[in-house]
Symmetry: C2
Subunit: 167 residues, 2 copies
Amino acid sequence: MKFAAHGKICNEVGFILNGSFRFFFVKDGIEISNYFSFQNEFISSYRSFLKREPSLINIEAMEDSQIIYFSYTSLQELLKDERVVLKMERFGRMIAEYLICCYEERVVSFVTQTPEERYRLLLESGDDLLQRIPQYYLANYLGITPVSLSRIRKRIFAAMKRQKMAS
Amino acid sequence: MKFAAHGKICNEVGFILNGSFRFFFVKDGIEISNYFSFQNEFISSYRSFLKREPSLINIEAMEDSQIIYFSYTSLQELLKDERVVLKMERFGRMIAEYLICCYEERVVSFVTQTPEERYRLLLESGDDLLQRIPQYYLANYLGITPVSLSRIRKRIFAAMKRQKMAS
DNA sequence: CTACTTTATTATCTTTTGTTAACGATCGAA
DNA sequence: TTCGATCGTTAACAAAAGATAATAAAGTAG
């Protein structure tokens, strides 16, 4: 299922009940995965939703998934009722703040860490991501090619093996 | 002037009246600049401000600057008054949404573009950034070293010169 | 189980980046 | 003006990443 598409205005904000979604771009005809969301998370091409501009990104289900969502027009309808304005403002704020925290950490990692460091930290965190998405998606997520990630893995696991031998 | 410091909780959200601020990390004793803000922009280590957690980033004035700001405690005070809750919710939402748009574009550029492409696009955009910050800050911002940026500039300007000769 | 497709690894080669150090250029203070 | 510090460029080398192709491993459908 496609939730958002490049070049089209994103008219919904969704909440994943179960399943998983992938955020990606198409560059030179190749898909580059950028982010992954699982149950109990909000998804949206939020910039497009807010600014009413064509989306930069695509969002697509990776498996059979269930979501609930509200549309931009239904949000506008709701906001005609004074009594719900406050709650919707709060709701919008919470979604935005949730997304900010995701983005901030991600930008930090790109500026301060090498791809190898990013992958090491992900390994140490034991994040679900490692189990739930294929390695070539993960490579994109880290900002490198699948081939390069494979080499990084080789380096890391060789080093771990040496450590084990020494102990 | 220091607006936010690594390891300390950020208690303010500021708005720049004039001047400029630099966001940076310290890694292995070296400062890595990550973002820059100028007049009429909001600044905050917003994740720290929201979550009441130690800041990951530092924010510091690059020149004499004037800002107005509100503190977390004054925000809490304000929110005791029912009549301002709505406006503050909206205000918080607008700040969060503003920051999201900055971050989203930045993450996209890291995943889909090479450092050279990022610099080329910045050149083409004619962004003020190019005039207002030194090149070694810009290098950090692009995720590379100053030496590497210098090489990229050489490549680009050599290519431009060749194009000019041909025409 | 086999054949086919997809994903991961490995190899080779080229390009780019990081690191370190040297060299100019620029700017401000003495 | 001169000294010193800072910033940008360049050079040389090592390390890492991209591109491409071949191979191995894993997963799927028949």
